[in-house]
Structure formats: structure tokens, C-alpha cells
């Protein structure tokens, strides 16, 4: 069965510092991978996704992620964090239905705190 592990429950960084959020997945085939962000009281917003091709994926708000098959990882990075990036971040892998659409298997999330 598919699963996603986000080993860091909380991360604190200073504004302007670089950021890396870890994500490991378990999936038999080539996975569809996603990073979502959730601000307090808000729904989930898609940051980026990986389906195939270039293993370095660019997303919105200056985020990027790298798919490493050998490590079963899809870590999220940002070179310089802004105070507005404080939120909860979820990594997800897709479970494909026979219809072609898919549901998400989410990790437990990483809460990011940004210090001024």
C-alpha cells in the first residue's frame, strides 16, 4: 500500500534562511507526487507536482522539489524563506483509480514557523 512519511513534525527557520522539508514515499510504480500548503483556516493549495520527466520541479512562491527514485524521496526546498511561508506543508502520493483519476495519500504534515 502507498504511504507517505514526513519525518519532521515542526521546523523553525529564520526569515531569509533556506528551507528543506523532507518527504519519503512508498509506492510500487512511478509515483505521482505533490506538495500542498495549508495556512490556518484555509484549504490546501497546490505548490507543485511531479508526474514524470525532469526530476527537479519548480512550483509557485519560489518553491522547488526534487524527485529521487533511489531514495524514495521528494523533498521540498526554498532558497530564502519569507514570513508569509509560515504554514503547514503536506506531501502526497497519488493512488490511481481504474477510471484514471486519483486520490491522495497524505503525510502527517510539517508545520513551518518563521522567525523574524
Amino acid at each position: 500500500a502507498q504511504s507517505v512519511t514526513q519525518p519532521d513534525i515542526h521546523i523553525t527557520v529564520s526569515e531569509g534562511a533556506s528551507l528543506e522539508l523532507r518527504c519519503n514515499y512508498s509506492y510500487g510504480a512511478t509515483p505521482y507526487l505533490f506538495w500542498y500548503v495549508q495556512s490556518p483556516g484555509q484549504g490546501l493549495q497546490l505548490l507543485l507536482k511531479y508526474f514524470s520527466g525532469d526530476t527537479l520541479v519548480q512550483g509557485i512562491k519560489g518553491f522547488e522539489a526534487e524527485f529521487k527514485r533511489s531514495q524514495s524521496s521528494f523533498n521540498l526546498r526554498k532558497p530564502s524563506v519569507h514570513w508569509s511561508d509560515a504554514a503547514e506543508y503536506f506531501c502526497a502520493v497519488a493512488h490511481l483509480f481504474t477510471s484514471g483519476t486519483y486520490k491522495y495519500i497524505f503525510g502527517t504534515g510539517t508545520r513551518l514557523k518563521v522567525l523574524a
Partner: protein, 112 residues
């Protein structure tokens, strides 16, 4: 509408009460999903519709949970005889077939 709309945003129910949560997906989105997000956890899949057909309900935790989408647009998640463990944020998402989903802001259900 511009996004996925859920109502109510907050619901407090007494234990044993029935509740109904509404989701209005993005116009034209064929697929609709319900997820449950317990405090401090990631969202967990409950059920999914393609148009009016409920194609998977494997995530519904008990037979007290029921979802419908009779005309292939608005969906309602109903929970009968609510229990404390039902307290969570219920997220609705919609998508065009085979693409990523767009999420609503969720309904926070508190059972007291």
C-alpha cells in the same frame, strides 16, 4: 464559482445529532472528493464521485457516514448519530478528470 465552496465553515453538534455538510465544486469539475482531517493529521480520503456516481467509498469510517451527489454537481456528506471521534475538518475537493484537485476551505465539525 471561482473555487470550491463548503458550508457551513463551522459546525458544533451534540453527540447523537445528525449533521449535513455541503460542498459546491468548481463548475465543470467531474470528480469530487471528500477528505477527513483530524487535528494534527494529514487529510484522509473518505469517498469520491465521478459526476453523480459514487465510485469509491472505501474511506468512510462507518455506516453512519453517507455521501451523495444526485445531480453531479453539489455534494452533501451526512453523518448520523455523531460521535466525539467524528470531530475533524471535512475537506471537499474537485477536479477535471485525471488532474490535480482543488480544495475548499473545509468544514470544522466539533462534536460535544
Amino acid at each position: 464559482g471561482a473555487g470550491v465552496s463548503q458550508s457551513p465553515r463551522y459546525k458544533v453538534a451534540k453527540r447523537g445529532q445528525d449533521v449535513a455538510l455541503r460542498c459546491d465544486p468548481i463548475s465543470g469539475h467531474v470528480s469530487l472528493f471528500w477528505y477527513q482531517q483530524a487535528l494534527g493529521q494529514g487529510p484522509e480520503f473518505l469517498t469520491y464521485f465521478q459526476n453523480e456516481a459514487q465510485l469509491d467509498k472505501s474511506g468512510l469510517p462507518s455506516d453512519r457516514f453517507f455521501a451523495e451527489r444526485p445531480e453531479g454537481s453539489v455534494s452533501t456528506l451526512k453523518i448520523q448519530r455523531t460521535q466525539q471521534e467524528d470531530s475533524a475538518v471535512y475537506l471537499c475537493a474537485s477536479s477535471i478528470e485525471n488532474t490535480e484537485a482543488f480544495f475548499g476551505q473545509g468544514t470544522r465539525l466539533t462534536v460535544v
